[in-house]
Symmetry: C2
Amino acid sequence: MFSSKYRLQTTRPSRQIPILFSILVLLATNSVADEGMWQPHQLPDLSDKLRQLGLEIDPENLSRLDQFPMNAVVSLGGCSASFVSPQGLVVTNHHCVYGSVQYNSTPENNLLEDGFLAKQLSEEIPTAPGTRVYVTEEVTDVTSAVLAGVSASTSGIDRYKSIEANRKALIAACESSGNHRCGVSSFHGGMEYFLIKRLEVRDVRLVYAPATSIGKYGGDIDNWQWPRHTGDFGFYRAYVGRDGQPAEFSDDNVPYTPASFLEVSAKGVEDGDFVMGVGYPGSTNRYRTTGEVENEFEWYYPEARGFREDLISIINENSAAGSAARIAYEGTLASLSNYAKNFQSMVESYQHSDFIDRRKQAEADLADWINADSTRAQQYAPALRQLESLIETDQAARERDLVRSYMGYATLPNTAHRLYRLAVEKQKPDVEREPGYQERDLSRFRQSMQAISRRYDETVDKATLSYLLSRYAELPEQYRSQATDSFFGISNSFDQGQVDQIIEDSYAQSSLDDEAARLAWIDSSVEDFQNSDDPLIRYAVASHAERTALELEDKELIGQFQRWRPQYMEAIIAYNRSLNQPIYADANSSLRVTFGQVRGNQPKDGLINQPFTALEGILGKDTGVDPFNAPAKQLDLIKAKQYGDYILPSLGTVPVNFLSTLDITGGNSGTATMNSKAQLVGLLFDGVYESIIGDWDFDDNKNRAISVDARYMLWVMEFMDGATNLLQEMTIVD
Amino acid sequence: MFSSKYRLQTTRPSRQIPILFSILVLLATNSVADEGMWQPHQLPDLSDKLRQLGLEIDPENLSRLDQFPMNAVVSLGGCSASFVSPQGLVVTNHHCVYGSVQYNSTPENNLLEDGFLAKQLSEEIPTAPGTRVYVTEEVTDVTSAVLAGVSASTSGIDRYKSIEANRKALIAACESSGNHRCGVSSFHGGMEYFLIKRLEVRDVRLVYAPATSIGKYGGDIDNWQWPRHTGDFGFYRAYVGRDGQPAEFSDDNVPYTPASFLEVSAKGVEDGDFVMGVGYPGSTNRYRTTGEVENEFEWYYPEARGFREDLISIINENSAAGSAARIAYEGTLASLSNYAKNFQSMVESYQHSDFIDRRKQAEADLADWINADSTRAQQYAPALRQLESLIETDQAARERDLVRSYMGYATLPNTAHRLYRLAVEKQKPDVEREPGYQERDLSRFRQSMQAISRRYDETVDKATLSYLLSRYAELPEQYRSQATDSFFGISNSFDQGQVDQIIEDSYAQSSLDDEAARLAWIDSSVEDFQNSDDPLIRYAVASHAERTALELEDKELIGQFQRWRPQYMEAIIAYNRSLNQPIYADANSSLRVTFGQVRGNQPKDGLINQPFTALEGILGKDTGVDPFNAPAKQLDLIKAKQYGDYILPSLGTVPVNFLSTLDITGGNSGTATMNSKAQLVGLLFDGVYESIIGDWDFDDNKNRAISVDARYMLWVMEFMDGATNLLQEMTIVD
């Protein structure tokens, strides 16, 4: 499945450091076929193509956030979802509600195993802490406000700071109601900025989730694979106060009334039918330079995959299968291996495609176009040169940055760094603080400090730190930290035994593994930290200056990228305009529309992926062993050909999952797959293995999105779980 | 690939012991679609169907061994092959000539890596010792001669002995010319016997083999898989004396002139075209009882797979990768893992099919038909009962028999047993000796004693024996051997350390690891053995009586099966005749004809196997790392679309491998896939993963044979290897 839960919801600090890594960068591939994650306002320009493909509603509607179907679409912060009733019923993926099912699950009442269904409102239960439903209300172009005070001569660090300050001011004003969560999203590497205002529904309840043996059927083995038979759907409900405004959980709250909702089609789609998806894709890199692509695929992905596999081994070796320690690390392991597989696919696809050759050709074509005209050359050529130079600078210390980006996997030292950072940030006025440490972030910060108790084991953490330090020690001296060298006794000659002894002693003397102790540090002052005897706190204090200095270097570079990347993107856009090709921006977790068709493909020579899988495929796959352990009742229903009204005639049975050409990525999980009338015909939840490189290079023949078919969802609801109350509440159409 | 080299050419003694295992046992599935390995004499009865499917030659020809195309087909003893020129040029699979390439390969002149091509007769080189080309000349029904002296009242052991004696006499008479190798094959479990007389060409030379990176492309990873891109072809030439009779290798020999040869089609086949295969399938079990099927799939395959995986681990743990020891065991490892994968597939297919339900139904239908008529009931009902009872007896000691069947993997003790057995057998007149120990077998026996030098490592062998004895020690006392218990100090309480010490001492004092010592024992007397101090020889002598007693028990049971199985088969045949359905006999390494169509299939829900793979698929699969390391020249040729005249128009490129519905098994490797005119359009070399259970249960939707396309063979010959001499020698037609 798309690991949006890991990628987009995580609070892992490792994401905060290597910004330059995650903001790595391509030239526009030709906007062929079904490629494109379009901003709503672009849709009217594409209306001819949309109508030709079969869209029956007015394309104009897709550009208006206050119109159907756009106002039926919501974000869960990392997942996408849709309203499917006038009473705030929300449908998304099973893997997006999984955390809430797990949260309510006990050995005696194992909701994960049995599934959960509230037969009436009063039986609906609270979701995992922090669960939100975000309804996008406004998207405003704030480019000039964000860039206010910035000129061509502004230095990198000043540019970075100005932009951050302007962003924070816009967000603060936008959130003044107390009921909204706002963000300023950068498009085209900072060429445009949009303020996105979202209503934040804070009382979200779990309504229905099928058994994991349906909702996560195939598990990690089938992850990114076709053929697929996963019932990846689940239901939440949004609640608000009696005044209709967002409120904390209360028995007095009432279901939220959305402006519109999606009808659910029991007729569904057939091979070749028009489909579209409206959701919140997280991140893509479709306009990066050749140098960035080569670095990522030829160096970063192989190296990072090695890091992940080492970490997986270390966790497994230091926690017995089935032990409490292992259970605590299940989520970490899933994330590590999901991306190890992801990176592996990236490298395989890269090696077996002509991606880099096409990229080089596109870059050469752009340069030719720019240089063919002296005005254009004057306007754009410096950006190309400067960007290339910045990329070289960025990559110079890539070994160090890679190690830094994985250091966060050592939980206790990282916790110490974050706690001390909070104390330091709190000395500043709120608006000047680093994102993540502002008042608006503190409840999440506290939750993350609590969550460590369920995700930590001392033996594993010490072994992880030991490994990370051995990798760190391989760095040339210029890239090492004096504080770290000094604290762990590292020099150019590395003594693992000595380092391990220091780790041993530090952990023995630290109280950060105690939840109460951690939470107490949240309210402590910088002085408290500086006077502490806790070795890990002392290390955090000692290394703070160096960490901050590195961060400043990062920001200087980011600021410079913020100057040149937009100009580079302007050149690409102008070039494509000259070819009459529209350009969409890279995904950035903002609302996007993708459209295409239900269609199979040829994943490799000699093999064809059919567009639909069938109920009977579950019989063929089932072994009785997790993750291929469908409920006995389901196997019996299938053997009895109990299809109900959910048959796809050309298949002769109930379709389970289907392929389409929709252009999606992590964050699209839970996105409603809609038909030409904007009725829900499925839920997007994954892509095929060959789609993984799609974040960089969309190939119309290889990229396929996987949806759970609405007919299968309805079949499970009717025959497996008797969710008649929900079937009645939704508007099901033929 | 079909591992006929391992299964049918091996001299592993483990095959000699568990006869009852390898003669495990099904009711006829309905002879639908393309199922059937037909004896040539049956073909005229099927002529309507053959013509309807598209056969253009006279079906009568397929029943006459002295007519084209039957007399162009030869056996290599474990593989099938065909003459493709009037000068004795033989084409078969690369994996069938692999041993000879390996035999001629040196670090300086690495034929495996580079391939080999003789540009003229004088450059052709000797093949591995023992390589033969067998030309089937006559097939005679000898049922009455084999059963002479046998009556209903003959005991099991007497029946076994009579049949063996009659067989040997027939063989001896048949081989009197000195130029033939004869065999008596049992059909339908002993209902019919045929004497098969084959000319034995003893001077066979290696003519051409492509590089292993073409001939074994995909290696073990792609073994049993589709899509496939393997250039699995190679060429031998048969030589005879100037008198035209078989002779040992000599410079004076001349190419053999076959009675006919196959033309090679450069036009090839297209999806849906008629194809047939004439070859030597080794063994199938399509008429076994429910009890036999359940035992095999629910007990034997899972258990035996465990044994194999344990042995693989032991070999790997006791030999460093790349060491001489590991290299010595490569063949053993390949065989162990090939069948571990085979057994795994068997179990998976069994679990996901209704095979056992259909088998039970067929058995019930047969019983109903028999009992519906009192004459029939009198004739057949006893056989059903008796067979069932025999099967129960056979399975009673299955744990012991499984251990016995794997004991041969301990090379030195097994060598001692075989050498002592030879001395014992030599005391008898030749005609009374056990098969394998007759004069006709001695040159092969000697070769196998020499071959141990290249396949043995003391550390691995001791660890293997230690493991096997630990499994042996788990047997209840009644199933253990007193001699073995006594020699290794095993009792109901097992002390691995003590056993290992005895192994250590025995190996230290034994000289059987010395080739000269082994060979000297071949000519030693029983007395020499009895006076020997070699601990392993002493163990062989001490355990001989028990081993012989067990063998007698086996033979008694085999004799009883020889009484009842034929009657059971008669019932099945009579029943099918009543339904107007012809029945083919289980494969037994005799010449068979299979016919069907070029056709893809749906291996699992949501996935389609296309019938052809394409040259470009090699680009998609290639990683540069063995086994996906096509020669750079080949990759360049493909990128340059250098197709020559070998394009399949509907594919737009050169086809590499193709699927067909032909019914084949191990031993069919190298079989010519022929078109409707009996021209060679490919070479059969493997089946898809879902075909593995086909040895028991042919499913028209799942079973697919894989051929290397003749167009790819010709393409490699022309563009990669410049084998113009062979292209000119063969008759290539459009």
